[in-house]
Subunit: 127 residues, 2 copies
């Protein structure tokens, strides 16, 4: 592989279809402190790397990977592979289509409870 472009893997992480999403599974996926931090970090809608340094979590590398797997298999996130880097993104389209407003209120609740959450200018965290 002497290509200049980073190799884009052919998605080794299959996603559950929108119709196959289960509310119970989504709620339990969100019902973990570490995963709630991850969800909050992903709330901007962008792709975020899967490395430990980007999340302020005092857990092992393999544990973080496990959490990403739980999030993905619940349908909350999708995973993109670029070269040797993995990145995750919230499946906002699918979630909004299935349960309108759920992801927004979930993220809002997580942000509200997170003392480290940086408030947007003019917006009080204490709400």
């Amino acid at each position: 592989m002497s290509n200049e472009e980073p190799k884009v893997g052919h998605d080794p992480f299959p996603l559950p279809d929108v119709d196959d999403l289960e509310l119970v599974r989504v709620l339990r996926a969100a019902g973990d402190p570490a995963r709630l931090v991850i969800i909050e970090r992903l709330s901007d809608g962008d792709y975020h790397p899967c490395n430990l340094t980007d999340y302020r979590l005092d857990i092992h590398k393999t544990t973080l990977s496990h959490h990403f797997k739980v999030l993905r298999e619940s349908g909350l996130t999708r995973t993109r592979v670029t070269g040797r880097e993995h990145a995750v993104q919230l499946r906002r389209d699918a979630l909004d289509a299935r349960w309108p407003g759920l992801l927004d209120t979930l993220v809002a609740a997580a942000v509200r409870d997170d003392p480290d959450a940086q408030a947007a200018p003019g917006v009080s965290a204490a709400g």
Copy 2:
């Protein structure tokens, strides 16, 4: 006790204060099939009895009691004792104060996924 009025117990089920509610605990409490059915049944805001027949759940009596305990200790419900009857109600005030919109979207999502949910007149369950 020869009183005509049913005896009102002095709340043997203490509730967590609003400020002590934990989002993770609430989400995990909601992340169970049986408890999601209960939440949906309670969504009208009224008190509902704690007996098995009122919920279409194929579980043991003690298991149902366990679920009520999980819901109560997570802060999602309160329990009222009247005579020998127990009744539960969603703590909508506390939940709305702490995480605005969360309970509504949660209930809406649960109703949407429940095939047995009776739609209001003119409202399609398939959305």
